[in-house]
């Protein structure tokens, strides 16, 4: 872990903190009376704000988790060097793709 990875992980963590709080708050509010796709979509579809909210979240979490898993894989699975970096990039790509798909799914009209 170098300074750059560290900064990226800490900054994304700080960005996520309010978003996570918000997300949990919304969930607590939303689950009253059960969830339905219509309800979710009704809230989020077409909203630039929600797009920005979840978009930021996805980018941040992807970077954050990729770096985090990279550390865990290196310390607990002994992965080093190129293999380690390749796996980390792959995780980042996977999360970004899946995450953006989801954001698109809930916010596009």
């Amino acid at each position: 872990m170098t300074l750059r990875l560290y900064m990226a992980q800490r900054i994304t963590a700080l960005v996520m903190a309010p978003l996570v709080l918000m997300h949990i708050a919304v969930m607590i509010y939303a689950i009253q009376g059960g969830l339905s796709s219509a309800e979710i979509l009704g809230r989020t579809q077409g909203s630039i704000l929600w797009f920005a909210f979840y978009g930021t979240f996805v980018v941040a979490v992807s970077i954050h988790a990729a770096i985090g898993l990279r550390t865990v894989l290196s310390e607990w699975a002994g992965l080093r060097g190129t293999a380690l970096n390749a796996v980390a990039w792959a995780i980042l790509a996977l999360l970004l793709i899946l995450g953006m798909q989801a954001v698109y799914g809930v916010t596009a009209t």
């Binding site: 963590a13 996570v20 949990i24 969830l35 796709s37 219509a38 979509l41 865990v72 989801a102 799914g105």
Partner: protein
């Protein structure tokens, strides 16, 4: 006895943070996958959400929110420890992070049921 060096609060806080982080990271793709049905196959999502009403899944969700808040508060604790020049009180911080996350997740669970 072989790992006696680990039996203290800060180490346990570290382990909790790591386990919650990894668990979240493993859950995340699944979460995204389900949500991405929203547009192209809303009925599937509804089916899923219906399934999500079952108590066992409720409990799992409680666990998830718990993990998320454990991880977040643990992370905030860690960053406070790194960036604010503290000298003591770290154990208290670790403990209160866990307490607060339980509280948060508890509310979530109560609302959910």
């Amino acid at each position: 006895m072989r790992h006696g060096h680990r039996t203290h609060t800060l180490w346990i806080a570290y382990l909790l943070h790591r386990i919650s982080g990894v668990a979240l990271a493993l859950f995340l793709p699944a979460h995204f996958w389900v949500l991405s049905y929203a547009l192209n196959a809303p009925q599937k999502l509804d089916g899923f959400l219906h399934w999500a009403e079952t108590p066992i899944v409720k409990l799992a969700e409680f666990g998830l929110v718990f993990l998320l808040s454990v991880h977040m508060l643990g992370g905030l604790r860690l960053m406070a420890l790194e960036f604010l020049p503290w000298t003591s009180g770290q154990k208290t911080a670790a403990a209160s992070a866990v307490a607060a996350s339980t509280f948060l997740a508890g509310i979530f669970l109560l609302r959910a049921i």
